[in-house]
């Protein structure tokens, strides 16, 4: 019975952790697709792509900085696309880009797009299919797929010329002048210190903020806010777990007092009892973990696929350790009472 409540708490923890990671990962896929490159955005953008603009001159200035191996423009526009073979529309972000990476291939031909695998889970999208994108249903041919590049919604990757045409129609008020981009990704030359390079770039232009991937992600206000909110909630849940374990062990100790008295009368030391109790707590919580994680994974699999929940190994490890530790601490709440048990009570 203790296990039951504990299992539910484990499920809650795993789901919370899943939301935390899911939200973060699913909102940063496009950024992580660029790997370890530096990102250059306009200074007044607060590291948010839609607010950033780099003029053609600034682009030239950045490219000319010593230590820059190559630069590529990036621009994004939010819009919708029809799914092949149906009337349904899906939200997407279309990225114009210039440089290939570990995740992204070289930009496809004009009029084609490389598509985030997530779109394929929403509808049966295959290579060669045509997507109708934007308010004017601009046709884009699916040239291939990439993994894990969602930015809350699936993404489409096109070459810059195609992007500009699309953006003029999909977001006229946000269209970029010729040669301008929203951001640049920069590959540092060999043996160049990225931090140094970033500072040099900003000094050269006087109008940019150059950051690495981690800083870019941490700088997204939604990410920071969500992370702290969920961390807080997860911490409180651990405390609840502690209380529940302490509660049940308190209940069980009372029942077992005669047993403990007998054990002590037979020569058992308090330390033996503590060890036994700890072993019990670990046993119950380990069992609850196995069942709870299995249940949680099943539950997550059943959730609608467009909810941002992602269970990661690292998070599961943290939850497992946290639960075991919490269970032991909770069980030891009853320590005082056990230490006070008088073996003489076992007799008469």
């Amino acid at each position: 019975m203790v296990g039951g409540a504990l299992v539910l708490l484990v499920v809650l923890l795993v789901v919370l952790g899943g939301f935390l990671d899911g939200l973060t990962l699913s909102q940063t896929g496009a950024y992580r697709a660029q790997g370890e490159r530096l990102w250059v955005l306009s200074q007044d953008s607060e590291l948010q792509l839609p607010r950033s603009r780099l003029s053609a001159e600034v682009v030239e200035q950045v490219t000319a900085v010593d230590g820059v191996s190559e630069t590529g423009g990036i621009a994004a526009v939010s819009t919708t696309t029809s799914l092949p073979g149906s009337d349904e529309l899906a939200d997407v972000v279309v990225y114009g880009y210039e440089l290939a990476s570990d995740v992204l291939p070289t930009p496809p031909a004009a009029g084609s797009a490389v598509v985030d695998r997530r779109l394929a889970t929403l509808a049966d999208v295959r290579e060669g299919d045509t997507l109708a994108v934007g308010p004017d249903a601009t046709p884009l041919r699916v040239a291939g797929f990439v993994e894990d590049t969602t930015q809350s919604v699936p993404t489409l990757w096109v070459e810059m010329g195609t992007w500009r045409e699309l953006a003029t129609v999909a977001n006229p008020a946000g269209a970029l002048p010729d040669g301008a981009v929203q951001a640049l990704v920069v590959t540092p030359a060999a043996e160049t210190d990225p931090e140094d390079l970033a500072a040099r770039i900003d000094a050269a232009t006087g109008a940019t903020s150059t950051v690495d991937l981690d800083s870019l992600i941490d700088g997204q206000p939604s990410v920071a806010q969500q992370a702290s909110t969920f961390q807080g909630i997860i911490s409180v849940t651990f405390v609840v777990t502690l209380l529940v374990v302490a509660l049940f062990f308190a209940l069980l100790t009372l029942e077992r007092t005669p047993l403990y008295a007998v054990l002590k009368a037979l020569g058992g030391r308090s330390s033996d009892l503590v060890r036994g109790l700890t072993a019990q707590a670990l046993g119950i919580s380990a069992g609850a973990l196995v069942v709870g994680v299995a249940l949680a994974l099943a539950a997550v699999a059943l959730l609608p696929s467009d909810l941002p929940v992602r269970v990661t190994g690292g998070r599961l490890a943290i939850i497992a350790l946290g639960t075991l530790a919490t269970a032991v601490v909770g069980a030891l709440f009853t320590l005082r009472r056990i230490l006070r048990i008088d073996p003489a009570d076992a007799i008469g």
């Binding site: 977001n171 006229p172 849940t237």
Partner: protein, 370 residues
């Protein structure tokens, strides 16, 4: 119910632990609800607060103002539909602005001051009357611009002549400016390349006209548009559905945990004091007496847990006002508290069943016959 109270007094730890667990779960629930509420308001304010019964988007936009692009002449086409009292265009974009030497991100909305689409409630000042004036609104997460501030938007200097409450778009400080000011800004930013377009049309329904029916009529009579009544428009905004569903799942889990923890606790407790209950029944307690004993304790412990949790949630929200800007909503709090109490009583049914199954004759023969 002295017997019930006496028992609780003699085993303070266990009841305190249960109360503590319930209190924390209530804290989580109420905190979640408050933050979710503020988040939703911050994301939907501009639409929710707009003076409009129906909102019209392009039919490929999925109800999202950011992805919606409409030509200017759509306004007249919409206004011509029967049941439309007045229609006005809304244009929306995102841009960094500078105020007080500080750069901030903002949402710029071009609108017809006084026409549909105008925020319904003014907090201070008045609506803009010229191209260098603006109405500002913030949200619980980020405040807007104060009255009298001068904000640099692109090349233009704009003065805040009025403020509205909870009329921000996407939790971002929002500036409402005239269409001319908006168009000038866009021309400037795009180097004159882009056509002038709208993001949406706000519609005021004629008296007695049903907004939902009107929305359907507009969608069918005007080419290339999708019209939604206010409630549908708010629900369609990006992220709202995800928030509702995600938080919904978490609420369910929290309710489940409270129910099971309470139920199991009282079941164990009942099993442990079975002998005492048998005795009481044998010396003349009615079934109702012993059931009341259990239920009284459930209500007391869970009730106190709920009160403590509510107090903690209120305190925590007050302490984090700068971050979340949320507060407890009386109606939601009362409903949640009532739900938790009801679930706890339901959970106690297991214990109640055990109690009702007690046969007082057991007092004389715990082992069987004598």
């Amino acid at each position: 119910m002295r017997i019930a109270l006496r028992e609780m007094r003699r085993s303070k730890l266990r009841f305190a632990l249960l109360g503590g667990a319930v209190g924390l779960l209530v804290l989580l629930l109420l905190f979640f609800q408050a933050v979710a509420g503020t988040l939703v308001t911050a994301l939907t304010g501009a639409v929710d607060e707009a003076r409009a019964d129906v909102l019209v988007y392009d039919d490929r936009a999925r109800g999202n103002p950011v992805t919606s692009v409409l030509p200017l002449d759509v306004v007249d086409a919409v206004a011509a539909v029967e049941g439309v009292e007045e229609a006005a265009g809304i244009a929306l974009t995102v841009t960094p602005v500078t105020a007080d030497g500080e750069e901030r991100g903002a949402v710029l909305i071009g609108f017809d001051p006084g026409a549909p689409g105008t925020p319904a409630t003014l907090e201070q000042g008045r609506l803009p009357e010229a191209d260098d004036e603006a109405l500002s609104s913030g949200s619980g997460f980020e405040p807007g611009f104060p009255l009298g501030a001068v904000v640099t938007v692109g090349d233009a200097e704009i003065e805040i002549v009025g403020t509205a409450v909870d009329a921000a778009y996407n939790a971002t400080p929002t500036l409402y400016v005239t269409h001319d000011a908006f168009a000038a800004f866009v021309r400037d930013r795009t180097g004159g390349q882009a056509p002038v377009t709208l993001s949406a049309v706000a519609v005021e329904a004629a008296g007695g006209s049903d907004p939902t029916a009107l929305a359907e009529r507009i969608s069918s009579e005007v080419d290339g548009v999708e019209a939604l009544d206010k409630a549908a428009a708010v629900a369609a905004l990006p992220g709202i559905d995800t928030i509702d569903r995600s938080f919904g799942i978490l609420y369910v889990l929290l309710f489940l945990v409270v129910t099971i923890v309470t139920g199991v606790f009282f079941l164990i407790l009942t099993v442990q004091k079975r002998q005492a209950l048998v005795l009481l029944r044998a010396v003349g307690a009615e079934r109702g007496d012993v059931v009341r004993l259990v239920l009284f304790q459930v209500v007391l412990v869970v009730g106190i847990g709920v009160l403590v949790g509510t107090g903690l949630a209120g305190g925590l929200l007050a302490a984090s006002r700068d971050v979340f800007g949320s507060a407890l909503d009386a109606g939601t709090t009362i409903r949640s508290a009532a739900a938790i109490l009801a679930l706890a009583l339901l959970a106690a049914l297991g214990a109640v069943r055990r109690v009702l199954a007690i046969d007082p004759v057991e007092a004389t023969s715990p082992g069987g016959l004598s």
